[in-house]
């Protein structure tokens, strides 16, 4: 009987892997403009209200379990804002339309065919589809994200003791992102050439401060082939040479922060490293807002063009002082294929419109809540003038709270969607040497 069931599952997987549920133009419309016919309404939740210890029980259903716990404990208060549409760039929507019906999953996780640009699976996920979670993961991986290229310059990470609020260390970075393929808006598109190793994405990180890690640089090359591990190069200022890194250790605490390399942007590993399960769709509060209307922190950063980063508060200064809005959310769980992985699963709360992951909860091997990831998404039309009209949900403030260690790492961004800041020449090994002198 068990054997028959397995055969049935395999057969179903094969059927579902093909574009059996071919998406339609209406699916695309629904996927990118979910609030066209109105914003979510949940009884008891309204713009302008503050959710705190006194009323959290009444709105528990729109909070993820970790945020509910934080508010209940009095660690943080949530200010609710209006739901706003984060329209992605029209070029990405058009690329999605152009790819309709051409994308299908391979025989095993990590393999996808026909995905050249745009959202691979714009149709609504179905609980009946055993690979729905994996499709949502692909939608995230090939999401519009930062667009074709962008920079976070500068980017402040603060390592904080959550009990005392003491900032133990502040690291100032520049981060740069570049898509080699799946490009839709910045010329050239859909791909940069030449690209002999079929790179999908480059990430370049440069440490500006403090002195002991100044000039440390990291270059990550991610391949189109999801089954292949990244190539990573590290330049250490005091060695003045480029070291290759072994990249399998994605659970490494990056530069001693509370963030695993695998945690970046919500998930930064291979699709094939996880089993993905779609758990449902619901309306929830997510940290998405207009940057220019938030409380800002001139002490950390203020520059000639008047830009300031988002302020932090709450217990230990571990939470951004921002507003949250009701959003359509896909709840997805990922559990590691590797039985020795230090976590048992992550709960991802994916924003259905942008396919960013503003909220994550990581569970330890025992199944207890371990870490809470928050990345605030700022609307590009209410941010830096040059971000207006880019259609990028701008990563604007992050917090990773280690709930067991009472420690957190926070991030304050100056996100800039400007191709001049991230030319392809920045994503070369030689650039590490040249910039690190």
């Amino acid at each position: 009987m068990m054997f028959k069931k397995s055969l049935f599952s395999v057969a179903m997987t094969g059927v579902l892997a093909a574009p059996a549920f071919a998406a339609t133009l209406q699916d695309v419309e629904n996927s990118f403009y979910p609030y066209k016919n109105g914003t979510p309404k949940v009884e008891g939740v309204s713009a302008g209200m503050v959710i705190n210890q006194s009323n959290v029980e009444t709105v528990k259903d729109v909070l993820d379990p970790a945020m509910y716990q934080f508010v209940k404990n009095g660690d943080y208060e949530i200010k609710v804002g209006e739901t706003t549409s984060f329209d992605l760039h029209s070029s990405y929507v058009e690329a999605t339309k152009a790819g309709l019906g051409k994308v299908k999953l391979g025989d095993k996780p990590g393999i996808i065919e026909g995905a050249h640009a745009g959202r691979p699976f714009p149709e609504e996920p179905s609980q009946d589809d055993p690979r729905a979670g994996e499709k949502l993961a692909w939608n995230y991986k090939y999401g519009y994200n930062w667009g074709d290229s962008a920079a976070i310059s500068p980017f402040y990470w603060k390592y904080r003791n959550m009990k005392s609020g003491k900032v133990e260390r502040t690291v100032k970075f520049n981060f740069h992102f570049l898509n080699y393929t799946h490009r839709t808006q910045q010329e050239p598109y859909p791909a940069l050439t030449p690209n002999p190793s079929s790179l999908f994405r480059g990430i370049y990180v440069q440490v500006l401060e403090p002195f002991d890690v100044k000039n440390t640089q990291l270059l990550i090359h991610r391949f189109e082939d999801d089954l292949k591990r990244d190539n990573a190069y590290l330049y250490l200022g005091f060695q003045r040479r480029v070291r290759r890194l072994s990249t399998g250790q994605v659970t490494d605490a990056f530069l001693g922060s509370d963030i695993m390399i695998e945690d970046f942007e919500g998930y930064n590993g291979r699709i094939s490293d996880m089993n993905w399960t779609y758990k449902g769709t619901k309306h929830m509060l997510l940290p998405m807002y207009n940057h220019n209307e938030m409380e800002l922190d001139a002490d950390t950063h203020k520059d000639d063009e008047g830009y300031q980063v988002v302020a932090f508060g709450g217990k230990g200064g571990c939470f951004p002082n921002i507003t949250w809005q009701l959003r359509k959310v896909y709840v997805v769980e990922s559990d590691p294929v590797d039985p020795n992985h230090p976590i048992s699963k992550r709960q991802h709360f994916i924003d259905a419109q942008t396919f960013t992951i503003p909220r994550n909860i990581t569970y330890d091997r025992k199944g207890d809540m371990w870490k809470s990831w928050l990345i605030g998404q700022a609307h590009p039309d209410h941010h830096l003038p040059r971000n207006k009209g880019t259609g990028v949900a701008v990563d604007d403030a992050f917090s990773m709270v280690d709930m067991q260690a009472n420690h957190c790492t926070t991030g304050q961004f100056k996100g800039q969607v400007d191709p001049k800041l991230s030319p392809a020449s920045k994503f070369t090994v030689q650039n590490l040497r040249a910039s690190g002198r």
């Binding site: 260390r169 002999p196 190539n231 200022g237 060695q239 399998g248 001693g256 922060s257 650039n431």
Partner: protein
């Protein structure tokens, strides 16, 4: 001025540190009380014709108080009972050679004159090593600029006093030989970044970026037009003198100075050094191919034979196998080097393999007869690096395991060479991070096979905040027991016996010769 390029300068960025390094040596006491101030600046200049124009500079000032605080052991009055008393016992060789003269220019004008500017610092120059005729307090000062070419590639020129680093090897210099090194600062144990001696050079790079074949490709030329400077091995009387060479050079036998003259090449276009490198990325492999014409930075001793020597007559300064005004001349021969390096990420092992190798022509190695022999050399390093998250060690940060095997093959080896025809040194680095990477223990172990010498250097670094760093370490060595026959013992009627001086210093290597330099080391740094 209409039509001229517009140029303006951005703000200058400054950073730096002050640091105290206090080391205590077993049985000796204070061996280092080094106080360093270092400032680094970077100034960008905007131009319409060039991109990324940056002026970089590094200024450094050091005062080492060990010569004031432990002048019994180090300094101009720190005499030794016999040559090499800091690393071996007495034997016939130490009877034939006198003890070295500390800081010869403060004690012996003849020796000072013979050394002729090489490793002849006076005590003040050891206390304040950057304040010398070469203006070493300017550690680096160079300007760099890029030019976008029509092909979409980038041309870069960097001109000034700088370090140019080749290769992929830690601790050893295989390809990384463009700048000489100051071993007097802390033997082989300081970061090369801090002990390379910057040179006035110009580099030109053509950054081709990705091509149809390579993911990255770069061709560069380097021209070291500075006056040649050899590596500093440490003057006799200093607390760190690699191979104890400084004291041997200030020794004498039969009243004749060991060193007669140091022939440092004058500045001349023909004496400048130059090289080329092509490097790139091909799939999972990064590679470089290198060629360099340079000078040997370690001294080569040329024996000054006395053709009138009469072995049947009594030995005297004027009747000895060597000339009466000095036994050896020091020379720095020209070398041609070709080599390369590759590294490869193995996904199956989740580890990086490194290989670096060079072949040289023109090097001169020590030997008993004539002091030296020119020979081709092959050197190579195989490295293995792996980052590992080890939950049982109580941290989520990955540990770094890095091992290397450094090999050296002498192609024209002779039996009277103290260096083995083939020798290997293995190294291991294991480094971990705790408390959000603010606490970092590590251990470095290195073993020299031929020398049968080992160094173990555990340390722990604590970074309480963005400014302070405290490092506490141990540096423990064993070895230094190798002996080598010295033909001069025949003059005392005992040919062919194994002795310590002068040749076994090469057999024992930098680890073995420092066998009595076990230290506890504390460094405190404040960065700004």
């Amino acid at each position: 001025m209409a039509g001229s390029p517009t140029t303006y300068a951005a703000d200058t960025e400054w950073a730096g540190f002050v640091e105290n390094a206090t080391y205590v040596r077993d049985g000796v006491g204070l061996s280092k009380f080094r106080n360093t101030g270092q400032a680094e600046f970077s100034k960008s200049i905007e131009s319409e014709s060039w991109d990324n124009i940056v002026v970089n500079g590094t200024l450094r000032a050091t005062y080492d108080g060990v010569y004031d605080l432990n002048d019994d052991e180090f300094g101009k009055d720190a005499t030794q009972p016999y040559l090499g008393s800091n690393w071996h016992g007495q034997d016939l060789s130490t009877a034939l050679l006198t003890a070295g003269t500390p800081f010869p220019c403060e004690n012996n004008p003849t020796l000072c004159n013979n050394l002729d500017g090489y490793m002849d610092q006076d005590e003040d120059e050891a206390k304040f090593p950057e304040f010398n005729d070469e203006l070493d307090f300017i550690r680096e000062l160079y300007i760099s600029a890029d030019r976008q070419l029509d092909s979409g590639t980038i041309f870069n020129v960097t001109l000034g006093k700088q370090q140019v680093v080749w290769g992929k090897t830690d601790l050893f210099r295989v390809l990384d030989v463009i700048n000489p090194v100051d071993y007097s600062r802390h033997n082989i144990y300081d970061e090369l970044e801090d002990i390379r001696i910057p040179q006035w050079m110009v580099t030109a790079e053509w950054r081709m970026g990705p091509t149809k074949v390579f993911d990255d490709s770069n061709f560069s030329l380097v021209w070291n037009f500075d006056k040649f400077r050899p590596s500093n091995l440490g003057t006799c009387g200093q607390s760190y003198r690699i191979l104890d060479a400084g004291c041997f050079f200030t020794s004498s036998t039969l009243g004749v100075p060991i060193i007669h003259d140091v022939e440092e090449p004058d500045w001349d276009l023909g004496n400048t050094q130059f090289g080329a490198k092509w490097e790139g990325v091909y799939g999972d492999v990064t590679f470089s191919l290198n060629a360099l014409h340079y000078r040997q930075q370690l001294p080569s001793l040329h024996f000054r034979a006395n053709t009138a020597f009469d072995p049947t007559a009594p030995l005297s300064p004027t009747n000895a196998p060597f000339l009466s005004d000095g036994v050896f001349d020091i020379k720095f021969p020209k070398i041609n080097l070709v080599g390369g390096a590759i590294d490869y990420y193995s996904m199956d092992m989740d580890a990086v393999w490194r290989l670096e190798t060079v072949y040289t022509q023109g090097e001169e190695l020590p030997r008993d007869t004539n002091g030296h022999k020119e020979t081709d050399m092959l050197r190579y390093v195989v490295g293995f690096d792996k980052n590992m998250v080890i939950p049982s060690l109580g941290t989520g940060s990955a540990f770094l395991l890095s091992t290397q095997l450094f090999g050296e093959h002498i192609l024209d080896h002779e039996a009277d060479m103290p260096n083995e025809e083939d020798n290997w040194i293995g190294t291991l680095l294991f480094k971990g991070w705790y408390m959000n990477n603010r606490l970092s223990p590590q251990i470095i172990i290195a073993h020299d096979v031929a020398a049968e010498a080992t160094v173990v250097a555990p340390s722990i670094s604590w970074t309480p905040d963005n400014h302070w760093m405290i490092n506490l370490g141990l540096n423990v060595k064993t070895g230094g027991d190798q002996e080598f026959p010295w033909s001069a013992t025949a003059l005392a009627g005992q040919p062919g016996i194994n002795v310590t001086e002068p040749l076994s210093r090469f057999t024992n290597g930098p680890i073995g010769v420092a066998n009595q330099e076990d230290e506890i080391q504390l460094t405190v740094r404040y960065s700004f």
